[in-house]
Amino acid sequence: MALKAVYSEHKYVIGFNMKFIFPLLVVLYLPNTYADAFCALRDPVAQIKILYPTKTNQLSIVKQIDEGVRQQVKTALPNNDLHFGELGKHTLYIALQGQEKLGYIHVRSEQSKWGIVEIIWAIDKDYRIKDFAFQRCRSPKKKLIDNQLFKNMFIGKNLVELKTYLANDGVTANQTLLKIAPGAPELANVVLRCALKTLLLTQLVWKEELDKNF
């Protein structure tokens, strides 16, 4: 367990000079480290490589998503709720190329018709969607991910821009997005909800630390 970089929002005490050193060490020496807070059923490392082909290592920051965060999510995204399974510890990965931060990796599971859909999100440093992929999806419509037009509706979009895809109910996507996903509206809705929650939670939970330490 010594090899693991264990972060705690409350216990994380590290010297200013050490703020780059320690994670770097973790990434360098423990390239296959599993975070303690496992957000997905499957190991996202392989997907991170796909999303960040040039990454050489990654760091993971584990944060607690609690009831306060949940209430914030409710306020920011009305009608969207974090279910109890989403509470608890969650991991954000930082993709590194050498010491250069390429971006962030956030894996989130979203309830869908056919069980949990796990999407691994690549977020750039400006908290815009860089890319995404299904890590786990049972739906036969998962080929939607191969639709570049659909992907392009997300790539480069920040939280505010993505919210424009929401319909009036605040849960489903509007036609702007749905018309790009013919035959798979439900999966498109899941992807959009997941994207919004991911960007929001990244900024709510991890942004302060990311901006301060990385």
Partner: protein, 638 residues
């Protein structure tokens, strides 16, 4: 063709078409029902599969919880859910033959997934690579399963949609057929109605129209219809014939009306010309029609007579309560008296019942008989005079006999008086001797010489003889007086036997010298009548009987009561009456007696008197043997 045939054709065709339509619609309806059932079953399958799908989603969620939390205790629940899913698939397989293979395959995959999960329950080290392998395997299986489920779901939805469409199509077809058939049926009804209207109603309307037109014109109009049902054609022909017949009848009626008018005028003229008053009264005795003679008779205008009750003018036709006396109104030749205000009251009326327009009326003809009454009165007076004269004549005839009858008692009365005078002188002389106190010898001698004993005895007998004689005379005179005396106008009770005896007294002298009178008076009855007239009858007949006997003969006079009448027979055995004379026997002024001996009125008066008593006389005679007159007098005389 006949309307009845049309009716039969319409009825049969309507029944046939209706049955066809009903059968066809029933078939279509059955198809709808069939499609509905299939659709319902399909819907049930679809919903069952949707339920299965929902359960499956929960099953997946449970697995996700199992995998994410590595919570082995969920494995048991997952296994139960798996069994539920398998049961539901089994249920679906029973009703879904088309999807059997897919469902079986689905069951296999679910079972495989269940095995995968079951393999993890006994795993000691959860982070073992086997866990991730199991997840991958499960995801692979469930992904395949989901593809199949989505396909099946689509299949079920499509199937339901397909059956729903089929159901809707069946319903629409049914609606279309029903609408179409109703439309066709309505069209048939419209065409049928138009056809009936054209072929049946129109000819009838033509007839009606022509008939109405016929009322306004006198022209001959053709009723006959050449097209249409046979009945209508026959009807039109019948109406045509009937119309012609009616026209003929109208012409006849018009002619008859003219004749009737003329007849009415004639009758009216006659009625107003006849001196007889004719009155038509209704059933209540109200005067409705009169002729002009009535005005004169009733001394009133038409307005004063019409609508008045007949009883006002002719009281005999009114009952005590003022109602019209119908019985009296139908009598004939009834005499009556008009109301007291009318100066000439005597009338004779005859009435009869006539029916006018179904109502009873009474036609009363009234004759003014005031003149006749006057004549009758005069005649009656004449008759009375004649009767009296004849009676006087008979008295004249009887006078000699009566005188003789009176003379006899008068003779011996006179003789008796002479005797009594002699007796008186002797008694007076005897008285003088007694008064002068003559010697008794002298007195005695005178008494003996004059035979005073005889005188004193004889005086009584002489006086009695005188009394008897005066009585006889008195009776004869009395009977004669009563006979000569005229009767009262009113009838009175008459003891018939006593009256016969009185008559016999008067004719005694006529009979006693040549006739042996045989009386047998057994009537002992009283009748109402005129005694003098009846006495005249008896005297006439007795005298006639006496005259029929030339020298000597017999006369029988009998009286007896037969039923309700008194029969008096006066029979002689004289010369009889020839049959030739029998015919004229009661004619006035017929006589076989020499001129100056008879008036020829005797038997006529006898006959008249008997009629006056509501009686009659019969006569039978045999020439040379005698004659018998039988008088029939009723006991009660109304």
């Amino acid at each position: 063709m006949k309307i009845s045939y049309y009716n039969q054709i319409i009825a049969v065709s309507t029944l046939f078409i209706g049955s066809c339509i009903f059968g066809f619609i029933w078939t279509k309806y059955q198809n709808v029902e069939f499609q509905s059932r299939i659709h319902y079953q399909s819907s049930i399958h679809s919903k069952s599969f949707q339920h299965f799908s929902s359960m499956y989603q929960i099953w997946l969620t449970t697995q996700d919880l199992f995998f994410s939390g590595k919570q082995a205790y969920l494995a048991g629940g997952i296994n139960k859910q798996t069994n539920i899913l398998l049961n539901e698939l089994n249920e679906l397989m029973r009703g879904s033959k088309e999807q059997t293979d897919e469902l079986k395959q689905l069951m296999t995959l679910i079972k495989q997934n269940d095995k995968t999960i079951s393999s993890l329950v006994t795993l000691e080290n959860q982070p073992d690579q086997k866990w991730h392998i199991a997840i991958e395997k499960s995801d692979s299986i469930t992904s395949s399963t989901i593809i199949m489920i989505e396909k099946l779901e689509q299949d079920y939805i499509q199937q339901e949609l397909q059956f729903s469409n089929k159901h809707k199509i069946a319903i629409n077809k049914l609606k279309a057929w029903v609408s179409g058939l109703i439309g066709i049926y309505l069209l048939m009804i419209i065409f049928g109605t138009r056809w009936i209207s054209k072929n049946i109603v129109k000819p009838l309307e033509n007839i009606t129209h022509i008939a109405n037109k016929q009322l306004d014109t006198e022209e001959d109009i053709e009723f006959v219809q050449h097209h249409g049902p046979q009945e209508v054609i026959e009807l039109s022909e019948t109406i045509q014939n009937l119309t012609q017949h009616i026209k003929l009848e109208i012409t006849k009626a018009e002619l008859q009306r003219k004749n009737a008018d003329e007849a009415n005028k004639r009758i009216s003229s006659i009625m107003n010309s006849v001196p007889t008053s004719i009155i038509l009264v209704n059933d209540h005795g109200v005067i409705k029609e009169i002729n002009k003679a009535v005005n004169k008779l009733f001394e009133a205008d038409e307005n004063e007579i019409l609508n008045k009750k007949i009883g006002v003018f002719l009281p005999i036709l009114a009952m005590v309560n003022g109602q019209f006396d119908k019985n009296s109104a139908t009598k004939t030749m009834q005499e009556g008296i008009l109301a007291s205000s009318i100066k000439k009251p005597y009338i004779e009326y005859s009435g009869c019942l006539v029916s006018i327009f179904g109502e009873n009326h009474y036609l009363i003809a009234i004759s003014d008989i005031n003149g006749r009454k006057h004549d009758q009165l005069a005649l009656s007076q004449l008759n009375q005079q004649l009767l009296h004269a004849e009676k006087m004549a008979s008295i004249g005839q009887l006078a000699a006999g009566i005188a003789h009858e009176i003379n006899n008692p008068v003779g011996y009365i006179q003789s008796n008086i002479e005797i009594l005078t002699e007796y008186y002188e002797i008694i007076m002389a005897f008285k003088s001797l007694v008064i002068e106190n003559s010697p008794s010898n002298e007195i005695k001698k005178f008494y003996q010489e004059q035979d005073l004993d005889y005188i004193f005895n004889d005086i009584e007998a002489v006086i009695k003889s005188c009394q008897e004689g005066t009585g006889r005379v008195s009776k004869i005179i009395k009977d004669l007086g009563s006979y000569a005396h005229q009767d009262n106008e009113k009838m009175e009770p008459v003891k018939i036997d006593e009256l016969i005896n009185k008559s016999l007294v008067l004719v005694a002298n006529e009979l006693k010298y040549k006739v042996e009178l045989i009386t047998q008076l057994e009537a002992s009855s009283v009748i109402f009548g005129y005694p003098q007239k009846l006495q005249q009858v008896f005297i006439n007949l007795l005298v006639n009987a006496s005259h029929a006997i030339e020298s000597s003969g017999k006369v029988w006079i009998t009286s007896k009561l037969v039923d309700s009448e008194v029969n008096i027979s006066i029979k002689d055995n004289g010369h009889g009456i020839s049959s030739e004379n029998m015919k004229k026997l009661f004619d006035p002024f017929f006589t076989t007696k020499p001129v100056g001996k008879g008036t020829g009125l005797g038997l006529h008066i006898v006959s008249s008197i008997l009629e006056e008593h509501n009686g009659h006389i019969t006569v039978s005679s045999t020439l040379g043997q005698g004659t018998e007159f039988i008088l029939h007098l009723p006991l009660t005389n109304h």
